[in-house]
Symmetry: C2
Subunit: 213 residues, 2 copies
DNA sequence: GTCTATAATGAGATAGAC
DNA sequence: GTCTATCTCATTATAGAC
């Protein structure tokens, strides 16, 4: 690790770190943490295995670095949810942003899903420090909208869960969707229309979620 | 492999196979395919490693067996969707059944999610032979309901995706939900209420999914 | 049928030359 | 900074005794 007196990473160093991280994202998202090997990452990056270990302390270091960087990007769409905007519009726009992001960054989505699925062993601290506060804050915003009568009664926490689940589904379960939809070019437009209709219906509901029975 | 002249597995053999499969489900669903080791499975099953390999040809054999058995159970709730029933009721009951199943069989949900997430390398044939035909059949049923005016216009394929995504989310992303909801006893009742409200709103929508802008 | 011991492979990490 | 060669350990699978 090059960090003796002056800790200024050269342009080559910065570039190599990026190349390695991009290769690692490709491999980790496809095979999971344990399924990925340094050989695969090295091959994908076009570097030798020891060279990889010159830039990172080990396999886990690479993985944690990826997850940490990802977290910020991943939360951007939710950060942008504006408490002063029109409630219905804000939430539907958030759904759009989230779906777009899953479509553009499917590897990141799968990397995250892999980690959570296995109990978040390496990203748990970030969940508490970054995700939880933001989640609570935005849930309070939505709850405020409901109390102000700007939205029908609904459960902010589970609404956000549903948004996450449905938007990330297209990245995380892509293999299944490809089998079921056939070689259809791109499911995204129809997915976007469906999700707008679904969440739009929920948010437009007059009032009092009538029991179904 | 005991299959020379008479292929009748003894009661002990049947029992041991079940014990091994249950242990394997526990381990595979927690660590993924590559993350799981025969040592862990053997320890969980209370058997020796060579004994495991007496009953199964290898690690992959165990995994494939699990996935194949799971597929049938997993599709039961959808099979039960009745073309002759009340459309809205049928779909909402399906959501309930799916959520209940994910709550009762979270390990199975995660095993399946792990496999799909990594591109369904081992279960792809079953997706084509079992899931696809059923999916097409039930989509046609729902499409028929829409054409008959019994349901508002909606996209059957993406409706099913949304149902799968939201119900399985609670099992697959349990680690995240636990962080965000705190040590709350059981999210299931509120999740069920939310999903009934959401899908109920979509299905009750008068007609013509109005563009949101 | 089940075990102990061990072979064979694969993968993370390091030594040391260049 | 980067490479070749190597070490070490974990893991799948087998051999052979009981």
């Amino acid at each position: 690790m090059p960090d003796s007196p002056a800790k200024k990473p050269s342009r080559i160093q910065q570039r190599n770190r990026r190349v390695i991280l991009d290769a690692a994202l490709e491999v980790f998202s496809k095979h999971g943490y344990r399924g990925a090997t340094l050989d695969q990452i090295a091959a994908e990056a076009g570097l030798s295995k020891p060279n990889i270990l010159y830039y990172f302390e080990g396999k886990e270091d690479i993985h944690v670095t990826l997850l940490s960087q990802l977290m910020d990007t991943w939360l951007d769409p939710l950060v942008a949810l504006d408490p002063d905007g029109d409630p219905r519009r804000e939430i539907l726009d958030y759904v759009d942003r989230k779906l777009t992001m899953a479509g553009e960054l499917p590897r990141e989505s799968r990397l995250f899903a892999n980690e959570i699925l296995q109990g978040a062993p390496r990203i748990s601290p970030e969940l508490h420090s970054h995700l939880k506060p933001l989640f609570d804050e935005k849930c309070a915003v939505i709850a405020g909208w409901v109390e102000a009568g700007k939205l029908p009664p609904l459960d902010p926490q589970h609404l956000l869960f549903s948004i996450w689940a449905t938007t990330q589904h297209y990245a995380d379960f892509e293999a299944q969707a490809q089998v079921l939809l056939g070689a259809e070019t791109n499911p995204q437009p129809r997915a976007a229309a469906h999700l707008r209709a679904m969440f739009g219906a929920l948010l437009a509901q007059p009032s009092g979620a009538a029991s179904v029975h």
